[in-house]
């Protein structure tokens, strides 16, 4: 066959790749199932939410997180592939951070989880660096014009997470209650923590 032959359905091509590699004895027992479990259960934005909540509660932890994101995340047990060098981007009243990977789909898996479909879409990758305000507006977030929007494009090995400003009125909340405000969208910077 050649490249002019119509492609088999992608499900068949994917399984064919695994089958052929299995025949070469390259695939350990349960390899894909184990990977799937890790990706679905262990790499999660719930981890990043715990990091943010702890940084809001503890000035010492916040300072460690901003100084060395990788080791501050590892303190809580969050490390692994695509988390080799983590930088937390600190929002302030005059700065709103946002993350993208224009070239592919790079994300901090251990603290953000695998990225959502929209993050990998051509629309987000193409547009958010150039027209961040419009894209955020379309996604339901309006950032005041006097607040700088800083879009970090994940083009090398640094993996980012956004450390948003703590919402007013949440002082004294437990870490668990604060963590519940932090979604994957908040960690990427396309939403703000909501208290209602």
């Amino acid at each position: 066959m050649s490249d002019h032959t119509p492609p088999a359905p992608i499900a068949d091509r994917a399984r064919a790749l695994e089958t052929v590699l299995k025949k070469k004895q390259l695939v350990p027992e349960r390899h894909t199932a184990d990977f799937t479990h890790t990706a679905e259960e262990e790499w999660s934005a719930k981890n990043g939410a715990m990091v943010v909540a702890k940084a809001w509660k503890s000035p010492e932890y916040r300072s460690r997180l901003l100084d060395n994101g990788t080791s501050a995340c590892a303190e809580l047990g969050f490390e692994g592939p695509q988390g080799e060098y983590i930088v937390a981007l600190e929002d302030t009243p005059s700065l709103h951070n946002l993350i993208v990977c224009t070239l592919c789909s790079c994300t901090a898996w251990p603290v953000l989880g695998l990225p959502p479909d929209w993050y990998k879409s051509f629309e987000y990758r193409a547009r958010v660096v150039r027209e961040s305000r419009t894209v955020l507006h379309e996604m339901g977030l309006d950032i005041p014009e006097d607040v700088e929007i800083r879009v970090s494009d994940t083009t090398a090995e640094t993996r980012y997470m956004v450390l948003p400003c703590q919402p007013e009125g949440t002082e004294g909340w437990s870490e668990a209650a604060l963590a519940a405000l932090i979604t994957q969208d908040v960690l990427i910077g396309v939403a703000l923590p909501k208290t209602e």
């Binding site: 992608i10 068949d12 064919a16 695994e18 679905e40 150039r130 996604m139 014009e145 970090s152």
Partner: protein, 206 residues
């Protein structure tokens, strides 16, 4: 390469379609590309950068038409074939139909021999450089000036690692650009930070 994947700032795309609370994988086959990539990387058959390049090398019409995880399957399968581990015929036989692979790899570029260090706060120039092979310098910053805001630890130079050739460890610099310097019609009061290997950057003549 100035490939179809280098999408930052490209016009013509519509609104971002957001479906919230979707599963990590929608279909049982979707994890297979990632899972098989880990096998090749752990066995040192290829690097993560080579996986990225293999996906960039998918023929542009197929790249645009495929889903994310489909591109991953095609890229990883292409690498296993290129490294001589399996053949396209074996894949097509097992798939019961065609299994088009990525176009051949371009040419890698080694890092600069002599290090050039930059400081935080320094204005730097992104080289007016065109790469035949893999690069992690998006074309929207080529020849542009920005300011270093952070210095990250050394990682293998992507333009070499993407071709499995010796990749020098080099720091990467987070360089901030005014979005209006990149696109005259960019969003008001916005900046873009790009993470760039040292060899992509040059000193600004003063």
């Amino acid at each position: 390469m100035d490939g179809i994947h280098d999408l930052g700032g490209v016009n013509g795309f519509g609104t971002v379609e957001v479906e919230r609370d979707t599963p990590v994988f929608h279909r049982a086959w979707e994890p297979i590309g990632y899972a098989m990539a880990f096998i090749g990387i752990r066995q040192r058959l290829f690097t993560t950068d080579e996986v990225r390049h293999a996906i960039e090398r998918i023929e542009p019409r197929r790249y645009m038409a495929a889903t994310y995880y489909e591109r991953f399957v095609v890229g990883v399968a292409s690498l296993f074939v290129e490294k001589g581990v399996i053949t396209q015929a074996e894949l097509e036989d097992a798939a019961g139909g065609g299994f088009p692979l990525s176009t051949p790899p371009g040419e890698g570029a080694p890092a600069r021999d002599d290090p050039v260090h930059f400081e935080i706060g320094e204005t730097v120039l992104v080289g007016n450089t065109h790469f035949k092979g893999h690069t992690r310098m998006p074309k929207y910053v080529r020849g542009k000036r920005g300011v270093v805001v952070h210095i990250a630890p050394p990682f293998p130079f992507a333009s070499a690692a993407g071709h499995g050739i010796e990749a020098k460890l080099e720091p990467t610099y987070h360089v901030r650009f005014d979005a209006k310097h990149l696109w005259s019609d960019a969003a008001e009061n916005s900046t873009v930070v790009v993470d760039l290997w040292e060899s992509y950057l040059e000193k600004v003549e003063t």
